[in-house]
């Protein structure tokens, strides 16, 4: 009994520590700068929400930014699911010459730090005349070794006998993939969706480099602009904007969280 109380106490403490920053962020969006910077800061919602929001709208086209971020994330996730699940399936279940080498190359690409690639990538997109486009943000992220690896590991466990049975029953290879394999790796797909969605939603460095005009910015870049003045910061407005940028991702995680954990565990155990 005492042990249980201790465990719960620790869990509540940990939950408080991780949730408090979120609470403070949301609450601060409704307070004035003076209230946020006061010692101790105001921890209950204030009445400045409308005013902060009107300042925010004046400083940044939040609806356009929200659309950009959502559009980038949704299109990217669609493409990523198709690409990574099929690539993962092929690498897991087909035997062909050079498979090991191809997989090796994909894995090795995980070892190249993103920073090394920014300049050459930027040069490529400038030459192609594609800077400041949605495609320029999405395309490099589609070469994502982690996504392929995650799908391959989850599909390795899929019983080959089932695939062979389907083959004997006359399914085409494509039908086997869509009818037999995909429905059975749903947890992994959910994990992929949530992981790829957050990656694109939070994508900062590359969009910062390749996007040029305000009407193309996603949330992370637009927030950086909002925080751009080094000597006088409008914390209330910045925190309000951050809250707005965080809500959708929080929502998605809550909806998918069971699958998220299940999917990540999926590749961990091998029989």
């Amino acid at each position: 009994m005492i042990k249980k109380i201790c465990v719960y106490f620790l869990l509540i403490l940990a939950a408080f520590l991780s949730l408090f920053p979120f609470y403070f962020m949301f609450v601060s969006g409704t307070n004035s700068n003076q209230a946020i910077l006061a010692a101790p800061p105001r921890l209950i919602p204030g009445d400045m929400l409308a005013q902060n929001f009107s300042v925010l709208v004046e400083k940044m086209d939040i609806f356009r930014v929200a659309f950009n971020t959502l559009f980038l994330s949704v299109v990217f996730v669609l493409l990523a699911v198709i690409l990574f699940s099929s690539a993962g399936y092929v690498l897991a279940k087909y035997e062909f010459k050079g498979k090991g080498i191809i997989f090796g190359f994909i894995m090795v690409s995980m070892m190249i730090p993103a920073q090394v690639m920014y300049v050459p990538l930027f040069q490529m997109f400038v030459s192609a005349g594609m800077t400041n486009t949605y495609a320029a943000v999405i395309l490099p992220s589609l070469a994502n070794a982690f996504g392929i690896f995650l799908m391959r590991q989850n599909m390795m466990n899929f019983p080959t006998a089932l695939i062979e049975a389907a083959r004997i029953d006359g399914y085409t290879e494509f039908q086997i993939f869509t009818h037999i394999v995909l429905p059975n790796v749903k947890p992994a797909l959910s994990a992929l969706v949530i992981y790829m969605f957050t990656t694109m939603w939070n994508n900062f460095m590359w969009p910062l480099i390749v996007l040029e005009t305000k009407d193309m910015y996603n949330f992370p870049v637009a927030l950086a602009v909002l925080d751009g003045n080094p000597t006088n910061k409008d914390f209330a407005v910045i925190l309000l904007a951050t809250s707005i940028a965080t809500l959708p991702i929080l929502f998605i995680f809550m909806v998918f969280q069971k699958q998220f954990v299940a999917g990540v565990m999926g590749g961990a155990v091998k029989e």
Partner: protein
């Protein structure tokens, strides 16, 4: 069959989306920085500076109706990230870019041909020495000096009065410490905390760097050699330690806490640059009439001098297809008397263009500061600040100096040992 259809339609949607994306590309990039049609100037700047440049552009168009402008608001970090990629490739750069004063020579040294030579439009005698120092690199003038950050001592009239301290009597840092002890003992903030004399970040080098410049020292000499253990630097570090050890400092660790000391009325003085006027007015609107400005206290036995912190400059990339018109615009925007006065009145951008100081605006009293003519103090001090050579190693030296300072403040290390160590570290890193 349903599943196949779903998958196929998802693929179709994605493919269509991808096509749409690529199609967007054509339209989207029309506003790109590279249009290069000879009369569209793209500007990267942050916050109020951008607004001021927009106002300047409106005025510029009156005489140059065929010139178009594209303004992109960016934060400081964003500009530096963009500069790193675009200067390496020479592509995608704007025509006019705002850069913080201390950072100009770093980029100009790393990319020697990156910025256009502005020697022909910058008359060195017309600007504060310290700003000319910021934009000098490779024996050229690579930027146009804009707002300056002359440092003075902001002080709270009410706390000084309560403790019976006369602001005019604070001539040296020793006087400052004595006054600080009195104020720390006597005054309390509205929420009942004891009032401290000044804010110091014990994990950073801000305060040491500030009084180092005042004392005539710097990180590097004119040839770029590291000189962080010079006699001036040691004297400044010893003074910083003396002030910190006197127990009159309010610790802070980041920008939010720094603004917090204004909001919470924790300190009686803030040694800071002229732009702090805007921050104080914004964050402590109910403190009107309580603030004043005096000279920065001097080192014992030395003449009073100023220091510098912050302020920005404009650069023009040498690859700009609109080089001539961009130069003309920058010169106009930063030397037109009325524009400089407006920029100061509306946005607190304190000009470094000396001829503007004759404007009556700069001798007007400020009600928030008890009707004191505070700008005259900043103008006077700004002209005493010597030119500093920042070099491409400045950022690294600054962060190393931060750890040296924290050792002195927090671990009680001897200033001489700490600075000798810092000197050795930096010399082995930079090779000079």
């Amino acid at each position: 069959m349903k599943k196949v259809k779903m998958f196929a339609s998802a693929a179709a949607v994605a493919a269509a989306a991808m096509l749409a994306l690529t199609a967007c590309g054509g339209g989207g990039s029309s506003a790109s920085a590279e249009s290069g049609d000879g009369n569209t100037i793209t500007v990267w700047a942050w916050d109020v500076a951008l607004k001021q440049l927009q106002a300047a552009a409106e005025k510029f168009k009156e005489t140059h109706p065929d010139v178009e402008f594209t303004f992109e608001e960016m934060g400081t970090d964003q500009i530096y990230t963009k500069l790193a990629t675009t200067l390496s490739t020479g592509k995608g750069l704007a025509d006019v870019i705002q850069i913080e004063g201390e950072q100009v020579s770093g980029y100009a040294t790393k990319y020697p041909d990156g910025f256009a030579d502005l020697s022909d439009i910058v008359n060195e005698d017309d600007f504060l020495d310290v700003k000319i120092g910021e934009v000098s690199a490779n024996g050229k003038i690579v930027g146009f000096p804009w707002d300056a950050g002359p440092v003075a001592l902001f002080y709270r009239r009410d706390y000084f009065e309560q403790a019976g301290v006369n602001a005019e009597d604070i001539k040296t840092w020793d006087d400052f410490i004595e006054a600080g002890k009195k104020i720390t003992e006597t005054c309390t903030t509205p929420s009942g905390e004891p009032v401290k004399m000044l804010p110091i970040a014990p994990n950073g080098s801000n305060f040491w760097k500030l009084i180092l410049t005042e004392n005539g020292g710097s990180f590097f000499d004119a040839e770029g050699n590291t000189i962080v253990n010079s006699p001036e630097a040691l004297e400044a570090m010893e003074m910083a330690k003396k002030i910190y050890d006197a127990g009159i400092a309010q610790n802070y660790s980041d920008w939010a806490e720094y603004e917090g000391v204004v909001v919470n009325e924790n300190v009686a003085t803030i040694p800071e640059a002229v732009w702090m006027i805007g921050t104080i007015k914004d964050k402590g609107p109910d403190q009107s009439g309580k603030w004043g400005v005096i000279d920065l206290p001097a080192f014992p036995g030395k003449d009073p001098a100023g220091s510098t912190n912050g302020g920005a400059n404009l650069v023009i990339p040498s690859t700009s297809p609109n080089l001539d018109i961009a130069k003309e615009f920058v010169e106009f925007a930063l030397t037109d008397q009325q524009l400089q006065v407006d920029g100061f009145v509306n946005y607190g951008l304190f000009p470094s263009y000396i001829p503007v100081y004759d404007d009556p605006t700069f001798s007007e009293p400020d009600e928030f500061f008890g009707g004191q003519k505070i700008y005259e103090t900043f103008i006077k001090l700004g002209q005493t600040v010597p030119s500093v050579n920042y070099t491409e190693n400045f950022n690294e030296a600054l962060s190393a100096a931060g750890s040296a300072c924290s050792k002195v403040y927090l671990e009680g290390e001897d200033p001489k040992t700490a600075l000798d160590e810092l000197q050795n570290d930096l010399v082995s890193k930079f090779g000079k």
